[in-house]
Amino acid sequence: MPTALVNQKPVELQPGERLNCVQAAARVGIEIPAYCYHPSLSVVASCRMCLVEVGETKPDGTVVMLPKLVPGCQTPVKEGTVVVADSEKVKAARQATLEYLLLNHPLDCPTCDQAGECFLQDYSYKYGRSYSRLQEPKQIKPDKDYIGEQITLFTDRCIMCTRCVRFTREISGSAELQVINRGTHEEIDIFPGEPVNNKLAGNVVDLCPVGALCSKDFLYKQRVWWLQSAKSVCPNCSTGCSVNVDQNEDKVYRLKPRENPQAQGPFMCDEGRFGWKYLQAAERLTFPTQKTAEGEGVRDWTAVLNSLRQTVEETAKKSPQKIAAVLSPWMTVEEAYLLAGWLKGLSAQAALALGPVRVAGEDDTYPKDIHGKPIQPVKFTIRAEKCPNHRGVREVLEHFTGAVKPFAEVVSEAAAGKYDLVYLVGGDPFGWITEEQAKAFQKVKTLIVQDLLPSAVLSQASFVLAGGSFAERDGTYINHAGLAQEIHKSVRSPGNARPDNRILWELTGRVGLFHAGNLRKEIAETISGLAALQAGNLGENGVLLDSTEHSAQTAVVQA
């Protein structure tokens, strides 16, 4: 296996692997600071922050170093390459580069959003001088709040790394951002009247290493060092982008994509990035109810769950064929497993259906050409299927019922009076049931609705279970490609609402506390299609249902 050296540390290179110095160094835990370099964008080597000394090892073992510095991001590393990133020359170059970058940079830290996660701050602290020698007035450039609906630009903070421009040209293809003027007068701008409003716009704010491009949604709202991050998955479509949910004091402030080489890479779309405001909607259901003869009645979880359990068990004994449940593709695998397993356990004839899978248009791929047509290779896809766990819920249903019953079927059967008890799990915060469909459930004696927001059918429910959002529970979502990822609770549910996993854990009579990892092991043993969950802990990047390792195992089991 070829070996290179970075600061005397050996770096193993896989055969055929192409790494640059920055990547090779990262592999052995050495940071080579860089601004303009980004693995998903073209290499421009213009910031000059990653300058290192490089040499090669001759056949006789001597090392010949190049006399000049080279940018680490554009220099490939191969067998015998020696990278020196800690010499005096390199340190001096970094200090010089940082001094240059800070020359005209306004000292906005006290009011700048980026503080706390700013690469200019971090690198200055680690590699820079603590003073500037500029005695002349700084270049002043105007703020531009018209850059995009969601994006504002503090032009004089910009360090001209051009990541944002390259993103709009190479990833989204919409090319809204440009550089204007020349030399020290350069600024990022848009063409007047063509703001950055494409569906991937928010990514440029993530890409900006400093506080130049800021999110209007997040502007001045919170200091990042007060935020706590939970690793999760965006639920808004079946791409299932890995995200970090940032919250403080139980209030979510933003979602940011979390790099996942098995999922979507380092980006996410705006629909997901900004599509979580319902978490704090005033309309959120915040307490459970059970309708009694007198009216709305009981609001106590223990009482409601006990009563509900009793009702279901009784109905299962009396008329087992008149029970139906609709499992939303917004449920986690664990929740679907608990509910389906419990109901089937009580009545083998219980009808289990897949909740409505909302589809909006077609899969939207990027980048796009000048005419708006998608081009190859595809760098990002926003999927038409607007739910996080269609695949996961389907796997569970197929295991318990064979052919998966569509929602429409349950609706018409309920309208025809086929069911005495129907358990509806909502969960899609953007609407999942129409007035028409709701009418179909009027004849159902016992209607249970588990949801987080009101819907057309809510008023008809005998039992209302106030559930949580994706940000309020632990569980597993499986995306379009069969990647099973963990979601983690980040905030508490509002009021007396509860995360769905807890509701179902208690309802189905489980003892102790819900633990996703343990439950996954049980699921893996029970449902062969989900055997990949057997690790319990799926790691940061999730596991593929159909990974070869797993398939080999199933083959052995089947043999």
Binding site: C47, A93, Y100, G183
Partner: protein, 444 residues
């Protein structure tokens, strides 16, 4: 020393120097005929053997660059002619294009045959309107006469020349800056590798050559390798990497001389001879304080360095960046070096493309410091700060993408190192020499 008989400038004073008819009457395009009868590789070999080095500023061996093209490439291969001449003090390409356009066109045609290119782009700086019109007419004459286009003179060779006007940016003179500009983008030089010979214009193999270099190619084919090598400076025997400085060279002299002009001489004339013999001596009976050896990017020769031979190796030996464009500018002893340096710093700050950090910020910083010094608020430490900033930028230390930075840094280095007492006096006395004219242009 016998008067040198010009070759490149032989025809410029003729009444009919720009027409095809006139050119042919003087034997023009016979070198091209000769080349067409040779295999491309043999033409390249001639140019390699001649020792011709690029006259655009870098002095890279021309024939060697041609050999970097990939063998057996399906094409297209492009030739980009660098007529973006913008180095302050330089005007020899302009003279060649305005006065003897066919000499250049013939050189282009020969080069294209050697590198198997069927398309040459002639990138002319915007301000050279007369050159553009002259070349346009000349190119049209060639098409009409079957010297350009398809199946040239029955040889089976095709060649198109496309004139392309620049828009006022010095950085378009940098090879890859020119390429980016020609492709329709902002002229941000590309990172190398890949080099243009591998991936250049429109991502195809491209050779970028200077106007004067291509004119030399014409005469190398016409008069032979031995003729070219019969003049100039042989390689330094102590330096195995020195390719020597052969052939005739156009030297520009301007500034404080009695007879600013462009003169053709064998490579290696000294600055002193150039000034005193060909430039008519320093004007107004004064002496030279400093002399720019090859465009301001190369820095300055001090008064006691005027015997430096102006070949590719000479200026470097006295701390200048190199020969550059061989454009000599004379500064007399009544002119302040602080003012001269300010002019240089202002130029580079204005022309920096802005892509990489040290150049974008450094050129502007150096200009601001000079501004402050010239408004009477300089400090002695500023001189060391200027040296430090100048020392940290350029492709020589490896901190920038292209050589504009080195060019921006060198005048600062030379001026302060060679004229430090003058700078210190200026600062100590709190002198103020910003002119009203300069204040009018202050923001740029």
């Amino acid at each position: 020393m016998p008067q040198f008989e010009p070759v490149l400038l032989a025809r410029i004073h003729k009444a009919d120097s720009t027409s095809l008819e006139g050119y042919r009457a003087d034997g023009g395009y016979r070198a091209y005929q000769k080349a067409l009868g040779m295999a491309p590789a043999d033409v390249t070999k001639m140019v390699v053997d001649s020792g011709l080095r690029g006259r655009g500023g870098a002095g890279f061996p021309c024939g060697l660059k041609w050999t970097f093209l990939p063998k057996d490439h399906p094409g297209p291969i492009y030739l980009a002619v660098n007529a973006d001449e913008s180095e302050p003090g330089t005007f020899n390409n302009r003279i060649l294009m305005e006065q003897d356009p066919h000499q250049l066109i013939e050189g282009i045609a020969i080069a294209c045959h050697a590198i198997k290119s069927e398309k040459a782009f002639l990138y002319i700086r915007y301000e050279y309107g007369r050159s553009y019109r002259t070349l346009f007419k000349a190119v049209q004459e060639c098409y009409a006469a079957g010297l350009l286009g398809k199946n040239i003179q029955g040889s089976g060779v095709n060649l198109d020349i496309q004139l392309h006007r620049g828009a006022g940016a010095y950085i378009c003179g940098e090879e890859t800056g020119l390429i980016e500009s020609l492709e329709g983008k902002r002229a941000w030089p590309r990172i190398k590798p890949p080099f243009p010979a591998i991936e250049g214009l429109f991502r195809k193999p491209t050779i970028v050559n200077n106007v004067e270099t291509l004119c030399c190619v014409t005469h190398i084919l016409d008069r032979g390798v031995d003729w070219f090598k019969s003049m100039g400076v042989k390689p330094d025997p102590n330096n195995p990497r020195d390719p020597g400085s052969y052939g005739p060279k156009l030297y520009c002299i301007s500034g404080h001389v009695n007879r600013p002009c462009c003169v053709e001489l064998p490579m290696g004339v000294t600055a002193r001879e150039l000034i005193d013999v060909h430039g008519g001596g320093v004007w107004k009976g004064r002496k030279a304080k400093a002399v720019v050896p090859g465009g301001i990017s190369m820095g300055f020769l001090s008064a006691d360095e005027l015997d430096t031979p102006l070949d590719f190796a000479g200026p470097g030996k006295v701390g200048c960046l190199g020969l550059g464009t061989a454009a000599v500018v004379v500064v007399d002893d009544q002119t302040s070096m602080v003012d001269v340096l300010f002019n240089c710093c202002r130029f580079f700050a204005h022309e920096s493309c802005g892509q990489c950090t040290p150049c974008r910020e450094g050129t502007s910083w150096m200009r601001k410091i000079l501004d402050r010094i010239r408004s009477g608020h300089g400090k002695l430490e500023d001189l060391d700060l200027l040296l430090e900033v100048a020392g940290s930028m350029g492709i020589i230390p490896g901190t920038t993408i292209c050589g504009l930075s080195d060019g921006a840094a060198w005048p600062v280095k030379n001026a302060i190192k060679k004229f430090r007492p003058e700078f210190e006096d200026y600062i100590r006395e709190g002198r103020r020499s910003i002119t009203p004219a300069q204040e009018l242009m202050a923001t740029h």
